[in-house]
């Protein structure tokens, strides 16, 4: 081919490292659930889940280094609208007792 195609894929070792990182984070989230951190238990659990999801999106789904910038914009907009859904709903439900 005359045009050089962009390769977004990494080495096999890199993918295995990310995968092992995801497994370690899974073990961490299980371990953290048995430690009493008060109100921080769900926050830690969601933080770890978000780190895992970010790793999957960036490296397994090849959003980092994608040749098309629009893909990244679509991904971010998806989670942005999810954030609107959750935050506006909670802004309603969590303030109903304020009357």
């Amino acid at each position: 081919m005359s045009e050089h195609e962009e390769h977004t894929s990494h080495s096999q070792a890199f993918y295995l490292a990310i995968g092992i990182g995801l497994l370690v984070l899974t073990a961490t989230t299980v371990g953290a659930a048995f430690v009493n951190l008060g109100p921080f238990n769900p926050i830690i659990a969601l933080l770890i889940a978000t780190i895992k999801a970010t790793l999957v999106v960036l490296f397994f789904m090849h959003v980092k280094g994608a040749s098309e910038k629009l893909t990244g914009a679509v991904v971010v907009s998806g989670f942005f609208f999810l954030a609107i859904l959750l935050s506006l709903s909670l802004a309603d439900y969590l303030t109903r007792s304020w009357r």
Binding site: N41, A45, A53, F60, E68, L70, L86
Partner: protein, 235 residues
Amino acid sequence: MPDSQAIVMEHEAHNPALLHHFADAQQQKNAASLGMWLFLVTEIMFFGGMFCAYLVYRLAHFNAFAAASQQLSIGMGAFNTAVLIVSSITVVLAVKAAEAGKRKVLVGYLIITVLLGMTFLVVKGFEYREKFEKHHVPGSTFKFTDTFDDNGKQIPVNPKEAELFFSLYFAMTGMHALHMIIGCGLFGVLTVFAWKGHYSPGYFTPIENAGLYWHLVDIIWIYLFPLLYLISRHS
């Protein structure tokens, strides 16, 4: 216009999978993955609705949700999380094999992926069986007598609120399992196509897009596991 026709002919000669309305293979690939991502965004919003319902009810009935959550098996849930992560690794390695044109390696990874997906579903089946045996399936036979352990103090919970947790549990894991079943079927078909040699380094879009779908289903489980299985486990 003989010139442009010549260019089109040249492209077709280079890559038979390149459709005529795309300038080059890279543009075609970008368009396909953008389209797939738009679909995945609708999936995020679809599951997002259920996550939102879960969040609202969990905040309203925390004690019942914690007591009900403690009836789930962390062992099976964590095992399934690991199975899905390993399957995500095999998917990404399958895409890499397709990119490198290694047909047999690709078929191997696709088969392992389907087997891991089925392993997940079998474990899920055992979990569901346990729910039926304990009468934790929402409906007329639903029974819940457990209490919420508040630092050693046993607080009784309203069974109706626990039933709400299990309704959300079955709706969310059930919808996730349906996506897994579809994913297994998808990868089964791709395995056959890959074996027949439908894919080349110049064209493996179906493998890539099915991979994107599989990873998203994995991400949904990454959130479902802590939210459903790990509520207030320290007490």
